[in-house]
Symmetry: C2
Subunit: 422 residues, 2 copies
């Protein structure tokens, strides 16, 4: 008998039929002798509908009230799911984030969990009942104000409760079979990853893979919570996100997968004075405008001209804010030009094995060269290489890299670090 | 400067435009220098929609989960109303029943308020902000489980908070101008009552008047909270529900109004053994079936037959349960017949003045006689006379009584106890 945390997203509980299907799965897990804690998101489009309602009232909603509004969605789904489980003659109780002991800071709209005190959940499990917990929400420590955890917050709730309850596994149910070596809509030969480290999952999530939320993976990494990403539409095994140092590096594949991100744009500032501190000034202004910068390239100053060009990537939707800030800087510091380019895409190759394997970037660049794809920017971490291309080249770039690293093979385990020297 | 509690029902906050209109009224009250606490119900049909959702899942929802589900409605409306007030540059904060300190017993679906600890509301008022509180909901004392207060529960929340905060007045906003001497849809000459005692309001509410919820008036009576029932669509004065012993009985009109109730049915049990305890047996069986009995008439046993007939009224929707219980009793105790009649209606005349005025019932009976209306049952309290008629006679009965007691006059104050001896 194990304690299992199961998280179901909005598409898994979109209507009464879906809720009943999820209830049957929970009852089945319970019947197998497990203790079950379920985290549930708001039904289908509920959150968007609530946002629309707020939009009809005001363009600038106070954040505290916005969080109260949005958490109504989980209140509905958690109550209905608990009813559906009762209907199967299995005892269940639904709990708000507050009742489940999810304590957060006061950053409304994007609160961080600072403590989890799940005594009510533990009591419910001791009583033999299933505990249903509203995802995405918590409560502030001293004032008991309702908070939300931001995009993908229900994943974070699930992992945090799994950590606090010392669960055997945190199952994240979704509409696909797990994490894939690339997006199957772009690479038909992409296949499910059986097992992957949290570190690689973080890189994939940070660079475009949409399945798991970054903060949930960070939490799982810190508290060593095994995550099982799987489909709510089948009983197939999914992807196990787990760190296991005992097995050593020989078990790790060289490459885990290819992520892509078409939501980025590129800004190039031409003619920045090439003096100490001028790049810092520029990026301070951009940061003050609330812009999240991803990759940065500063050109080498040629011909001793005294000026240089700086390029960086940022999310599309922050483009206007960044340009406004930079135009002001241009007027003040005499930049020659601020160029905005939303025709870019980013492809990232992730693999823990590349840490000690020097040939990876060469193989990646040559694959793109052979596919006739131009590289505009490059950034790397210990276990990742990202390149920016024209957005129309992005799908072909993903496919070329996927093939070059032999990820098209049926078994990803075939491509392991060491041995052949690839 | 006074502390004013304002309660807005679902029809007053049915959509974004209505919410904005309510926000303007609140901001106006605040701008006049008052502290304002607002109780709000769920938007329009939200509660019915949530009930439908639950109905798609199960026919027998657990009550605890049902209360969690239903309270999502006020969570939405309170957040949106607070946003709309912010939009008018007035500071506001929304609070759940729990945050507002509304503590109840554990009778899910129909919980009773056992304590109100509104320290957060008081702090919000001290900070100069408007406090918005979710109506209809509370939280259990020790387990912090969400409860609902039953039909009309938002009125009760409003009165309970007004009592706890020692508010100058509890304004209940509705879609009519206040309490009327009769239902204006039936009696076109009915007019608004300026002022009425809680005792009379209780009788009117208990016997068919729909404007105020019974428990809210009981609460107001116990804690001496003045209620002002008024329209959310105009600035007109409404009806002041208040007890003021200092003014003495001379100020009270003889009759306050005429209520009617067409939701009752009548059961007659024929041939009940006329021995001690048999009526008690019968009503114990009916009570055990969860039926709320209103009026009872036991016929005089004639011709020393040893049997008698017992008639009583009950809500339509409890008819099936009562009949099932009584058929079983009939088989066991040899009753001759159980007759069910849903073609009845009840009209009630209410007035504190009738306590010391003997001519009222005679005038009522003669008015019905002159209108050719047959009386099937009669019950009275100190300040009320109710009669059961055929349901098709009910509208005419209401009009005849309204006219006989000179309530058609433009000024209800003209009809006062004493003086003319009427």
């Amino acid at each position: 008998m194990a304690l299992i945390v199961q998280k179901f997203g909005g598409s898994s509980v979109a209507d009464a039929e879906s809720i009943k299907r999820v209830a049957r799965r929970i009852a089945h897990t319970k019947a197998e002798g497990n203790d079950v804690v379920v985290i549930v998101s708001a039904m289908g489009d509920t959150t968007d509908e609530l946002l629309d309602l707020a939009g009809d009232i005001t363009a600038t909603p106070p954040q505290r009230e916005m969080d109260i509004l949005l958490t109504a969605g989980e209140r509905i789904s958690m109550a209905l799911l608990s009813m559906a489980i009762h209907e199967l003659d299995v005892d269940a109780q639904a709990f708000t984030g507050q009742q489940a002991g999810v304590i957060t800071d006061t950053a409304y709209g994007n609160a961080r969990i600072i403590d989890v005190s799940p005594s009510r959940i533990q009591r419910t499990l001791s009583d033999g009942a299933v505990a249903i917990v509203a995802g995405f929400q918590g409560v502030t420590q001293f004032t008991n104000d309702v908070t939300t955890l931001g995009r993908g917050g229900s994943d974070t709730t699930a992992v945090a409760l799994a950590a606090a309850l010392d669960a055997a596994v945190c199952e994240i149910y979704t509409d696909v079979d797990g994490l894939f070596t690339a997006d199957p809509r772009i690479v038909p030969s992409a296949h499910r990853i059986d097992r992957i480290s949290t570190e690689e999952t973080l890189e994939l999530a940070a660079h475009g893979a949409k399945i798991l939320h970054l903060r949930a993976v960070e939490y799982a990494r810190r508290y060593q919570v095994p995550i099982h990403v799987r489909s709510s539409f089948s009983d197939n095994d999914g992807t196990l996100v787990i760190d296991n140092d005992e097995e050593g590096p020989m078990e790790h594949p060289l490459i885990s997968g290819v992520a892509h991100d078409s939501s980025q744009a590129k800004i190039t500032v031409v003619g920045v004075p090439d003096v100490p501190g001028s790049a810092a000034q520029l990026f301070e202004a951009v940061a003050a405008a609330g812009v999240n910068i991803d990759m940065i390239v500063q050109n080498v100053s040629v011909h001793h001209s005294g000026v240089t060009d700086i390029s960086f990537t940022l999310p599309h939707e922050q483009g206007a804010a960044a340009r406004t800030a930079l135009e002001a800087m241009a007027a003040k510091h005499g930049y020659a030009e601020v160029k905005y380019d939303d025709g870019v895409g980013k492809v990232s190759l992730v693999g823990a094995g590349m840490r000690s394997h020097p040939g990876v970037s060469a193989r990646l660049f040559s694959a793109l060269y052979e596919a006739g794809i131009n590289i505009e920017m490059i950034s790397t971490s210990e276990i990742r290489i990202s390149v920016v291309t024209r957005s129309e080249d992005l799908p072909e770039a993903v496919r070329a890299i996927h093939t070059a690293f032999e990820l098209d093979a049926a078994e990803v385990e075939a491509v392991v670090y060491g041995g052949t020297g690839r």
